[in-house]
């Protein structure tokens, strides 16, 4: 806006020049000189930083790029046992029919129990290629389904094995923030994976987990099948107010 006004003022200057020229030619003694001082000096920044301007061929030209979250395989080279997760999103405001077009974010920790995020102090940088491992985003299909390829999560002190889920409607309004719990006991995937290298000593089971302990109906517990050799398959239905 400021720039527009500035340009307009330049144009006014150009148009009015001949008039001034005429005025000068007449040169009568009654011509008063304007004492109006500049109140808007423009908004250019060229004077404030004394550096060389770029002088190169233009390009490469930027193109619209989706968020790096948007991918089905969220492994990013993390080692662990393969896990395919199928989440079906249903709408409780529509008799739990499939909710199409919903945005589904998932994130979980790696085999050692660590999340991708900046560590430590505010000065810390990160490599742009691998910044957000084990985090992903998909949009549900006509059946309300999203699929992610990942690794079986590890665990950390104080929590049972879990996957975070955030469901948004198509326009980005939050519908539900929840977590997926895993079945426990002999023969379950949690027992077979056995906490990777850590083992399960000191593990927090669902009954003692501060998020899952109140889930007496076991609505948050997924169905998990498979093996270490073949990989695991997780499936769960999540009901949201769509």
């Amino acid at each position: 806006m400021e720039r527009k006004n500035f340009l307009r003022s330049l144009m006014v200057g150009v148009i009015s020049t001949p008039v001034l020229w005429e005025a000068c030619k007449k040169d009568t003694d009654t011509t008063a000189v304007s004492t109006e001082t500049v109140s808007n000096s423009g908004s250019g920044t060229s004077a404030s930083t004394c550096v060389v301007s770029p002088t190169e061929t233009e390009g490469p030209f930027p193109t619209k790029s989706p968020s790096a979250y948007v991918r089905s395989d969220i492994t990013d080279g993390r080692t662990g046992y393969k896990m395919k997760a199928k989440l079906t999103i249903a709408n409780v405001n529509n008799n739990c029919a499939a909710l199409a077009g919903a945005i589904v974010d998932v994130w979980h920790c790696d085999a050692e129990g660590n999340y991708s995020e900046y560590g430590g102090s505010g000065m810390q940088s990160t490599n742009y290629q691998s910044v957000h491992f084990l985090r992903g985003r998909q949009t549900t299909d006509a059946n309300g389904l999203v699929t992610f390829t990942s690794i079986f999560p590890g665990w950390y002190t104080g929590r049972a094995t879990h996957v975070h889920v955030h469901v948004y409607n198509a326009s980005g309004t939050s519908l539900k923030v929840t977590q997926i719990a895993f079945p426990e006991g002999s023969g379950t995937a949690v027992a077979i994976v056995n906490g990777y290298a850590k083992g399960l000593s000191g593990y927090t089971y669902n009954a003692n987990d501060n998020v899952f302990s109140d889930d007496t109906a076991k609505l948050e517990i997924a169905t998990v099948t498979g093996s270490i050799a073949a990989g695991f398959d997780l499936s769960i239905k999540i009901n949201v107010p769509g």
Binding site: V51, P62, K64, S65, N127, Y128
Partner: protein, 164 residues
């Protein structure tokens, strides 16, 4: 001989007009509005500043928003934008970055203000001539003259780290 990493902090706000910056600006704002809801579960707040004052983990928004601009960082092909040597040519490469939310408000994009910091690959600092650093890329052949860049000191470019 000293090896330095330069950091260029590029501030982008509603007045920034170029195409790359605008895409980064708009997409980081869209992601801000999504991730904001992760933290503001009871719909109490509107701004990043309010979250910082009231929630201990609000700072993680910086990280959570950063994937929204990764596609645009890739398009730079590892070349730090804007910063040029005395010939007017871009010459610094990067792999490391940091996204920073300065201000933002879920009610209007006009309050959105961000910074992207680019961390250069390490450069050798050979000499200082007036207001200029004489820099060279690492790994050049030892039996040949070293190719150098004369680089003027300027605002928003810091020597991030130094190794003797």
């Amino acid at each position: 001989m000293k090896t330095i990493v330069l950091c260029y902090r590029k501030v982008i706000d509603a007045n920034t007009l170029q195409a790359w910056e605008q895409m980064v600006y708009e997409d980081s704002y869209t992601e801000f509005k999504l991730q904001f809801q992760n933290l503001d579960k009871n719909h109490e707040y509107h701004t990043y500043a309010e979250l910082l004052r009231n929630l201990p983990n609000a700072e993680q928004l910086n990280f959570l928003i950063s994937p929204s601009i990764v596609g645009y960082l890739r398009q730079l092909q590892e070349r730090i934008p804007d910063v040029v040597n005395i010939l007017g040519k871009h010459f610094l490469n990067f792999k490391q970055f940091r996204f920073e939310l300065i201000n933002s408000d879920i009610r209007t994009i006009s309050k959105h203000k961000i910074a992207v910091s680019f961390y250069s690959e390490p450069m050798i600092w050979l000499d200082t001539i007036g207001n200029h650093l004489l820099l060279a890329e690492r790994g050049q052949a030892e039996d040949q003259p070293i190719l150098t860049h004369l680089f003027p000191l300027q605002p928003f470019v810091n020597i991030h780290s130094l190794q003797q």
